[in-house]
């Protein structure tokens, strides 16, 4: 009982202090210029982190339905994705040319980065925290 209560308090404090900070990462794989795999990751940060904020972009997005931030970000992942392209993108590419055919495969990974989103006047500002 006591342990459950402690865990509950821990969970609540984590939710209170870390709810505004999220992890972002992304992976895309293309074969012959067609997307064959996409992995989109947004998750709340579980450990408090103090870092320097770097403004990535401001988007015309407003949370009119008052969705939880995580849910809102997941819903608008495609909109916020271009903001993160400027961060470090790791790339692996293979191209094979045979006598009668060719294969092309590219893997692009945006490395995990902490970020915040602030809503103000129908705009959402995304800051990377590092």
């Amino acid at each position: 009982m006591a342990r459950t209560f402690c865990l509950l308090i821990l969970g609540t404090t984590q939710a209170l202090f870390c709810s505004d900070l999220f992890w972002f990462s992304y992976k895309i794989v293309t074969a012959n210029s067609i997307v064959i795999y996409e992995q989109k990751n947004i998750a709340p940060v579980m450990i408090p982190f103090e870092g320097k904020a770097q403004k990535l972009c401001t988007l015309p997005l407003s949370n009119t339905q008052n969705l939880p931030k995580e849910q809102f970000l997941r819903k608008h992942f495609d909109t916020i994705l271009p903001c993160f392209y400027q961060l470090s993108s790791h790339l692996l590419a293979w191209n094979e040319q045979h006598l009668k055919y060719g294969n092309d495969r590219i893997e692009l990974v945006i490395e995990p980065v902490r970020f915040t989103v602030d809503f103000k006047d129908e705009f959402a500002t995304i800051n990377a925290i590092r």
Partner: protein, 145 residues
């Protein structure tokens, strides 16, 4: 009078000889300082292309996927320019005739601060223009660690 004139000429000649011997000292170029020189900036421009897949839920999804494929292709080309390409090639010749040819190109890169400056979609092909400005200093800041 002549004596004064000869002395003056001799003095002038001496000054000229001495000043000619002294070399103009230029500041020595420090290799580390040259590394942080902004003057040698260079822009790399690439055009990435992506194809809209056929098995999509809607045309909008097809365009979105084509755009992402184009961006990925653009990044690959930037990686080629910034880091180079590893090429492996094998050719098999049998009975004096080319039987098989394989060329494998590999790129492994870490690209930061690339900008998408233009994008067009026409006839199922998404084309984007990507640009990255690079100098010795930026290279050092972004990629050397």
């Amino acid at each position: 009078m002549n004596r004064w004139f000869v002395t003056l000429l001799a003095s002038l000649g001496l000054i000229l000889v001495i000043s000619g011997c002294s070399s103009k000292s230029e500041p020595a170029k420090d290799p580390k300082a040259a590394m942080y020189d902004f003057s040698n900036e260079k822009s790399f421009v690439v055009y990435g292309e992506g194809i809209a897949p056929k098995n999509t839920v809607s045309p909008a999804q097809a365009i979105a996927l084509a755009k992402r494929a184009a961006i990925t292709d653009g990044y690959r080309q930037l990686g080629e320019k910034l880091y180079g390409v590893k090429i492996n090639s094998t050719e098999t010749v049998q009975d004096a005739a080319l039987k098989d040819s394989r060329i494998t190109a590999q790129v492994s890169a870490l690209v930061k601060d690339a900008a998408i400056t233009d994008a067009t979609f026409r006839d199922g092909l998404y084309s984007i223009r990507m640009e990255i400005t690079m100098s010795a200093r930026r290279w050092h800041e972004l990629f050397a660690y």
